[in-house]
Symmetry: C2
Subunit: 208 residues, 2 copies
């Protein structure tokens, strides 16, 4: 730790620069936006990336239903307007986290192209990298997994407007990465994401 003199502390009008925090963390702020059907492997991949990075001394954080839907977005329902606002807020919060220097992952179905594109634009306007990861796992595989029994309920009509059943999923047109979780292991999926971060200068090379 550098010794500083109290008399050398100056006050500042504005925020610490993003680059100062990035230098401190030895990584660049980035948002990795996972999108895909329910049970396609978004969260499993995101959490695996998070664990690997934190074990390697990198600061990563996952925004998902657990910490967002029950907190920031708990006053939103499932109307078209509320779904739109849900993804808008997630994009804004991810941008704040990336601005703070974190490797930020979002794990939400986020089925509509316009919502994801808005999050991408927000980041572009702030000079922040945005990595869209399309988890392109076939719906048959997702439906067979169905850990929460949601597909079953949707097919039975007990859950309405369920993505892939009676609500559309609009696949990304130009995602940075496409991963089919029925063809690769969670570890391979995570390493694909980490390799992308390294290859694009967001991380020093991981020693695997």
């Amino acid at each position: 730790m550098t010794k500083i003199k109290a008399t050398n502390i100056t006050w500042h009008e504005g925020h610490v620069s993003r680059s100062a925090r990035e230098t401190l963390l030895d990584q660049t702020g980035v948002t990795i936006w996972f999108t895909g059907l329910s049970a396609c492997g978004k969260s499993t991949t995101a959490f695996t990336v998070e664990h690997v990075l934190v074990e390697q001394g990198r600061l990563a954080y996952v925004l998902d239903g657990d910490n967002v839907r029950h907190g920031l977005n708990k006053n939103l329902g499932f109307s078209a307007e509320d779904r739109d606002e849900n993804i808008r807020r997630i994009g804004e919060v991810a941008k704040l986290f990336a601005d703070a220097g974190l490797i930020t992952m979002t794990s939400f179905i986020s089925p509509y192209r316009k919502d994801r594109d808005r999050a991408r634009r927000l980041h572009a306007d702030a000079g922040l990298p945005f990595v869209e990861v399309f988890m392109d796992t076939p719906i048959e595989v997702c439906e067979e997994r169905d850990p929460k029994g949601l597909y079953k309920k949707a097919r039975a009509g007990e859950v309405k407007q369920f993505t892939g059943v009676d609500d559309p999923y609009e696949a990304p047109l130009h995602p940075e990465l496409v991963i089919d979780a029925s063809k690769v292991s969670p570890q391979e999926a995570a390493l694909t994401v980490i390799k992308y971060l390294e290859d694009h200068g967001h991380l020093p090379k991981l020693q695997v």
Copy 2:
């Protein structure tokens, strides 16, 4: 950097623990909630703390009007309902940042006790420390500073429901810190906050 084998990467069902990130950062996640009248010194103090901490290798981030009002909360106006929602969202986002291990500061007038207390409860429920800093600068001093000419406009009736003029400011009953910016320099104010963090185990001792 520790060498890991790709074959050693396991997948994980859930989030990395808060304590893992705190160990990595050598600090604890905390929210420092600055409250007080317009021009009372909230942002100057917060930014000074932020700069000192980042220079010392600590990860700190300030949420303020610049990065929140124009982003996450840009769809909110100044009705009673919207002001309430404004502070609610800030509390939720601060909680996410503190959960990620950051020394998080919020710089908003946040004039109502019930709104601040809700943010405090949110943190308490998540086991996260919350430090309310009441910038108790006399309104006469704030009004003389008036960097944006807002008090002048409020006195002229051009700005309505301005805190301290025609809208109440409810002083905290049990703030962790009280700072009068008319009596101490921004540097002294910042060191008061930093000393609090050290004394409560959120930071290793700062060498000043």
